[in-house]
Amino acid sequence: MADQMRFTNKESDATVDNSTLTSLLHGLPGVDQVGLEGRAATLATRSIKKDSKIWAIDTAISMVDLTTLEGMDTDGKVRALCAKALHPDPTDPTCPAVAAVCVYGDLVATTRACVKDRVHVAAVATAFPSGRASMDVKLMDTKQAVADGADEIDMVIDRGAFLAGNYAKVFEEIVAVKEACGDAHLKVILETGELKTYDNVRRASWLAMQAGADFIKTSTGKVSPAATLPVTLLMLEAVRDFADQTGTRIGVKAAGGIKTSKDAIRYLVMVNETVGEDWLNPDMFRFGASTLLNDLLMQRQRMRDGHYSGPDYVTID
């Protein structure tokens, strides 16, 4: 199976033959829905207590891409979010900073000015969230965000092209956006809630990895369902297999719908038991979230103080 999946050298040609891509992607092993969901459910029964919970909560905080992606976002909102990102718990200097602040492209400059180089600045680009714009617009969107100081770009794939079987179009877009990113890291959003089947998720993961993604990301957060345990498990299996075959480690970002510490810990357990320690750090695994952070902080305070202090003891942003 592995040999059939091996892709041709991605560097060799930017224009790829759609039929070659199709036969490669359709040659990937299938996914049994019942089995995948069963495995995710079993892993979710792991019971993480005491020291392992303390470690997991701090690790989860350090993996958060603290996100605001609203039409009503302003400089003021973004500044507040940046302050929170740098000092999630102002009462406790041992609390780690989050991994990144994630905003729309026009707010990148404000964000960078606030956080300096202390956390990453991620910009959603390529006509997020629908991806329905011309290639020129998508590339401009990306270049502008990088010029303004983004060092991570979260792009969306063209789901329409993917579902129509036009894999070459999706591939070429990713290659082009990657080039436009320069040194910035590229996260490729698959929007699994619109791909619908697990077979599609595996194919889209391989397509994105092969086209040069540094991270593959579940969702925009604008489509339901966003990240789920089974979808993320499947993407972790894809990066594991890709690393086996190519030696290249790709990161995974679960975004949207992860609201509680319990959920976050379940994701970490899944990372731990699927791809292992190498992925248990902010360079290789991220949470795209906003409300999750405060729940992590409340749990962190509870573990530290032995009791809940409640929502008035964490800051709103």
Partner: protein
């Protein structure tokens, strides 16, 4: 820093184990006439949990007599609707007390709490609920307009799923209007005795369910008792044959659910990640103490190396240890006797030239343990490919064509279960028709449901448990009068 899971033990304070237990005969506990008791231990620590009565001939006679009285006077005369009330009540009590029963099962058996909590107990309750539903609908089960019960059922069950095997036996027997004398395995009597308490709590008429403890000799006396109408046994093929000889020429109706050596067949187009999970679940679930375990892995040769590498990687994440820890995947082997048997057979595997592999995993100092083990380069001629090991030991063989897979899968005296892994629906149907096995799973393994009949071909036994077919084992279907 690696992600080490801190110990997360389930509290055992929820169970209250008595220092000794008598025999449950005629609705109450009584001392054995011999006055003899034997110890039951926690196989994970070798700690003595309790002492239970050793039933002798007089006790067996008393239990069968109590069951006969209850059958003649009460249970056979009661309407199906009223029987259902009792069985539903038992089902609800099992659900209410499921945490306690799960902890007790894990203590006495050694299986991980994750399995007793998430698999055994939900299935136990489901079996009682399902059969309670049948009690007043037997006329629609396809066994004639007014199917009759058999009488007194003698039931002997194994130690691998103590309470679940009790449920598989007791629930259909009661639903069909029979009364029961049940003997649990000598190493795992405690949940059956807790079930006796549930029968009292449910107000079940005295004598409808009798539970007698003891070893093989007690079981022999029970199945040979002349006033028994039905014998149901789950256990080894060797004992099953002895029972069949013993009941030959009597009026007793017999069902046997015996050993297995199931083939789990993985084709090159299988959903590979889920197939790996299915292999793991097939043979390492319940430490491989499963009669339908997928103990022979048949891999299509074109994907064998890759699948084995994935399997080994997955096995390194299995967590062996304290069965009460909620994160334990592999618990203790049930007894030192079973451990010796596994050790003897695995030694023969090595001696016969198969290649042995286990992940590195620390083994606790006390108790009975065996690491998850894989044998490669196994051929059909090896003992580990033919004999039931009943432990966490997988024998891996390869095949080239579907026909070869069928031939190898069926080339065994057993015929309990089989697994088929392929994305091709037509191949699943074709393979399922070729398998000489009572249960065929497609793209899954070790899935159980009370609506689905379970039972074997060939030396794996006969008769079915569960589903509408299972009711036939407790109804007089041959001689309606």
């Amino acid at each position: 820093m690696p992600f080490d899971y801190a110990p997360a033990p389930e509290s055992r304070s929820i169970v209250d184990i008595e220092s000794n237990y008598g025999l449950f005969i005629g609705g109450s506990f009584s001392e054995p006439t011999s006055g003899e008791f034997f110890k039951t231990i926690n196989p994970a620590t070798e700690e003595v949990l309790s002492e239970v009565a050793e039933a002798g001939q007089a006790d067996v006679d008393a239990a069968v007599a109590a069951a006969r009285r209850a059958y003649d006077k009460t249970w056979s005369k009661m309407s199906g609707k009223d029987r259902a009330k009792y069985i539903f009540r038992i089902a609800r009590l099992i659900q209410e007390r499921s945490r306690e029963l799960a902890v007790l099962e894990t203590l006495d058996n050694g299986k991980p709490i994750r399995e007793s909590r998430d698999v055994d107990l939900p299935l136990v309750a489901a079996h009682f609920f399902y059969h309670a539903g049948w009690a007043d609908k037997l006329e629609f089960a396809g066994y004639g307009p007014d199917p009759k019960s058999l009488g007194v059922a003698a039931q002997v069950i194994p130690w691998n799923f103590p309470l679940l095997m009790l449920a598989w036996k007791v629930a259909p027997a009661l639903a069909c209007g029979n009364t029961v004398v049940l003997k649990p395995a000598e190493t795992t009597p405690l949940t059956a005795l807790a079930f006796a308490d549930i029968c009292q709590q449910a107000g079940l008429p005295p004598g409808v369910v009798n539970i007698i403890t003891g070893a093989g000799e007690t079981g022999r006396m029970l199945v040979e008792h002349p006033d028994v109408d039905k014998v149901a046994f789950t256990g080894s093929t060797e004992v099953g044959k002895a029972i069949q000889r013993a009941v030959a020429g009597t009026k007793k109706k017999l069902t046997l659910e015996l050993g297995g050596k199931a083939a789990n067949i993985v084709f090159d187009d299988a959903p590979i990640d889920q197939a790996i999970e299915g292999i793991v679940n097939g043979i390492y679930f319940n430490q491989g103490h499963v009669c339908c375990a997928g103990s022979r892995l048949l891999l299509q040769e074109s994907v064998a190396d890759e699948a084995l590498a994935s399997l080994k990687r997955r096995l390194t994440t299995l967590r062996l240890g304290d069965p009460l820890d909620k994160n334990t995947d592999i618990g203790a082997i049930n007894s030192s006797m079973q451990l010796s048997k596994i050790e003897e057979l695995t030694a023969s595997g090595e001696a016969e030239g198969a290649e042995r592999w286990s992940p590195t995993c620390p083994i606790p100092d006390k108790g009975f343990w065996f690491p998850p083990t894989v044998f490669t380069n196994v051929t059909q001629a090896h003992r580990i490919a033919r004999e039931e090991i009943f432990g966490p030991v997988l024998s891996v063989l390869t095949f080239r064509t579907p026909e070869e897979a069928v031939a190898k899968a069926n080339n065994t005296p057993f015929g309990l279960s089989a697994g088929i892994w392929t994305e091709k629906g037509s191949r699943i149907l074709w393979m399922a028709n070729q398998m000489r096995a009572g249960i065929v799973w497609a793209n899954t393994f070790n899935r159980f449901d009370p609506t689905s009949p379970f039972g074997g071909f060939k030396e794996s036994g006969f008769g079915r448990e569960g589903g509408v077919q299972g009711l036939g084992a407790y109804l007089n279907v041959e001689d309606p009068s």
